[in-house]
Every structure is written in C-alpha cells, then in structure tokens.
C-alpha cells in the first residue's frame, strides 16, 4: 500500500518538479513496485484525458460581448446608491428591517420636533395677522388723506371780480348806514 509520502513524490514526479536524485528514486520505485506503477499510470491517464477534454474546450465567441455588456451596465449606468440598494435592500428580510427602521426614525423625529414646529407656526401666524392689521390701518389712513387732498384740489378757486364785488357791497352797506 502506497503511503502519502510516496503518493506526493509520484505527484511531483508527474509534474517534473523533483530534483535529479529524487526523480531517479521515484523512477526506480515505479519500475520496481507494481502498485506505484499502477498509481502513476492511472494518474497520468486521468491527467491527459482531463487536459484534452476540459483544457481544450472551444472558445465561446460571445463571451467577450456578454461580459463587456454586463460590465457597462453595472459600471456606467448604475450609481452607487443603486448598487447599494440592489445589494442591501432587495432581500425581503433586509427590506422589512430597513423599512421598519426608517418608520421608527420618522416617528422619533416627528415627536422630537413637534413642539418647536408648532410654536414656530403659531408665531408666524400671529406675526402675519399683526402685519395684516397694520397694513390695513395704514391703508385706511392713506385713503383718508388722499380723499382730503382730492377734496381740496377739486374745490372751486376764489376769483378777483368776486373779491371786488364783495368789497364794494361791504362799502355800500357802510355808506348807507352812515
């Protein structure tokens, strides 16, 4: 029965990987020992057949195109987040876990920021109302001023003849009294 050491030597002998002395020793062993010879013969036959059949397979003519196409698709068209999504979130368990985590985060953020947001909205509303009132008041005052100005502008002017007439009648009244 061949031991592991001899099998290892025969294996390296088959690969021509031994030094000269070891090669001679293994060669002698194979020549003298029938079991070693059988083992070596079997190994070499199997190696030869495998190299012939599996080592010489016909080239796949479309392999190059398929690989390039796949490479382009994966490298150029996908962004990093798409790759992360594809690799991390596509499995159902992971997807559920991620969805749950996102929901929890959203609820937490909502509860955390609810008071400040409400206060901000109330303040903003009050400010808007105050500004609206101020604007309304100012508008009313302006309208009133404008109306008065227009009234003054549209009133009929006093002419020189009227003034003379008024002065003349006053003098007549004074004379008649005298």
């Amino acid at each position: 029965m061949l031991n592991d050491y001899l099998k290892k030597m025969i294996s390296e002998y088959a690969d021509d990987a031994l030094d000269l002395d070891a090669t001679r020793q293994v060669s002698d062993l194979i020549a003298r020992n029938r079991e070693a010879e059988e083992y070596f013969t079997r190994l070499q036959s199997l190696r030869r057949l495998t190299a012939e059949r599996l080592g010489d397979e016909p080239e796949d003519p479309t392999l190059e195109l398929r690989m390039m196409n796949a490479l382009r698709l994966r490298s150029y068209e996908r962004t990093w987040w798409e790759r992360v999504f594809a690799s991390r979130v596509l499995s159902p368990r992971t997807a559920t876990a991620v969805a749950f985590a996102i929901l929890v985060i959203v609820l937490f953020l909502f509860s955390w920021f609810q008071a400040p947001v409400t206060r901000f909205l109330s303040d903003t509303q009050a400010k808007v109302e105050r500004l609206s009132d101020e604007a309304q008041t100012e508008l009313t005052e302006r309208r009133q001023e404008l109306t008065e100005s227009l009234g003054e502008l549209l009133a009929p002017p006093i002419s020189d003849d009227d003034e003379d007439k008024r002065t003349g009648s006053t003098m007549d009244q004074e004379v008649s009294v005298a």
Partner: protein, 195 residues
C-alpha cells in the same frame, strides 16, 4: 495561462473600453474553464464571470504589482466561485443530490467527446472545494506551483501537498466511476488505462 501586458492594464485603469475588451478576450476562456469546474452548477459560470470582471474593474487601480495580475484575477474568480457554491449549498440543503453513478448512467449511451467532458467535470465537482481548485488550476489551466500559490494565497509547500492529496482522491474517485461503467475513454486510451 496568458500574460497580460502592463500597457493593457494601464489602459484598463484609465477606462479605455477597447483595453477592457482585450483583457476579457485574453482571459475569458481560461476563467470560464476554471469557473465551470469549480462551480457546483456550471450554468452559473456567466454570473460568476460578470462578478469577477466587475470586481477587477473596481479594484484594478489598487493592484501594485502588475506582473501578478493574472493570479490576482484568478484569486478573485476562485473567491467568487466559493461564494456562489456556498449560496447554492444553502439553497440545495433540502434537495437530495443525485448520485454520480445515476448521472453517469444517464449519459452512458452514445457517449462522445461532450459527454466525456461532462463526466470529467462532474468528477471534479465531486471533490472537496480545496482539492478541486488546485486540480483545476494545475490540470486544466496548467499553472505552475508558484502561480497556484499566488492565486490561492497559500505557500508553495501547501500547494504540493494539497495537489498530491487531491490527485489521490481524484484517481480513487475515477476508479469508482470506471467500476460503475463511466469514463470508458480512460480504459481505451493507448492500452494504459486506469482500470
């Protein structure tokens, strides 16, 4: 295995499509053969190759020693095969595996070159993963011990011993297959058959 010129790798790093195409043309056939033997399901070879080239594309700029590009790429390929095999193993835990003898019997009639290839592939796939990897790199791709050591990231001494144990298991398994009536080609070749 092929030699990849440094200029080609530089072109790939700079994003030249033609260089990538050339790189795939040079290595595709070799990688396809390695993947077919190492995968539990050879129909997934394309998927594994795509993943391998994608990782090469992403990480090529990190490779310092460009003379070791091929072992580096083979290493990525082997890792991808391992990952795919683990995935397949998980998926197939509840399914009973067909025995090799049954698979062989189904192809026993009218066996040609293609069938022999199929049987030899199945024979290798029956071996443990670490045996299958060294055998594929040595017997199919013809890598030397140093290259295998680099590709699998193990010492050369481990490659030697692992290869010897793998061959022992391989020869033994082939003997059983022949007893079951498969691999007649081994018996017919030049009178120095296994059986």
């Amino acid at each position: 295995m092929v030699e990849i010129p440094s200029s080609l790798l530089i072109g790939c790093i700079s994003g030249d499509d033609t260089c990538w195409q050339e790189l795939i043309r040079l290595t595709g056939g070799h990688f396809q053969r390695i993947a077919r033997v190492n995968l539990r399901d050879p129909s997934l070879t394309d998927d594994v190759l795509q993943e391998t080239y994608f990782k090469v594309f992403r990480n090529l700029h990190k490779l310092r020693d460009r003379s070791r590009a091929v072992p580096w790429m083979v290493q990525i390929l082997i890792n991808e095969c391992r990952m795919m095999n683990r995935k397949l193993k998980r998926e197939a835990q509840n399914e009973s595996e067909e025995s090799l003898s049954y698979q062989l019997a189904s192809t026993a009639d009218g066996r040609g070159r293609e069938e022999t290839r199929e049987i030899l592939g199945r024979l290798l796939r029956r071996l443990p993963e670490h045996f299958r990897e060294v055998l594929a790199l040595r017997e199919i791709e013809g890598l030397d011990y140093e290259e295998i050591a680099r590709a699998l990231r193990i010492p050369v001494g481990t490659v030697r011993s692992r290869l010897a144990r793998a061959r022992d298991a391989w020869v033994e398994l082939a003997g059983k297959v022949i007893e079951e009536g498969g691999l007649a080609d081994l018996c017919l070749e030049g009178g120095d058959g296994v059986a």
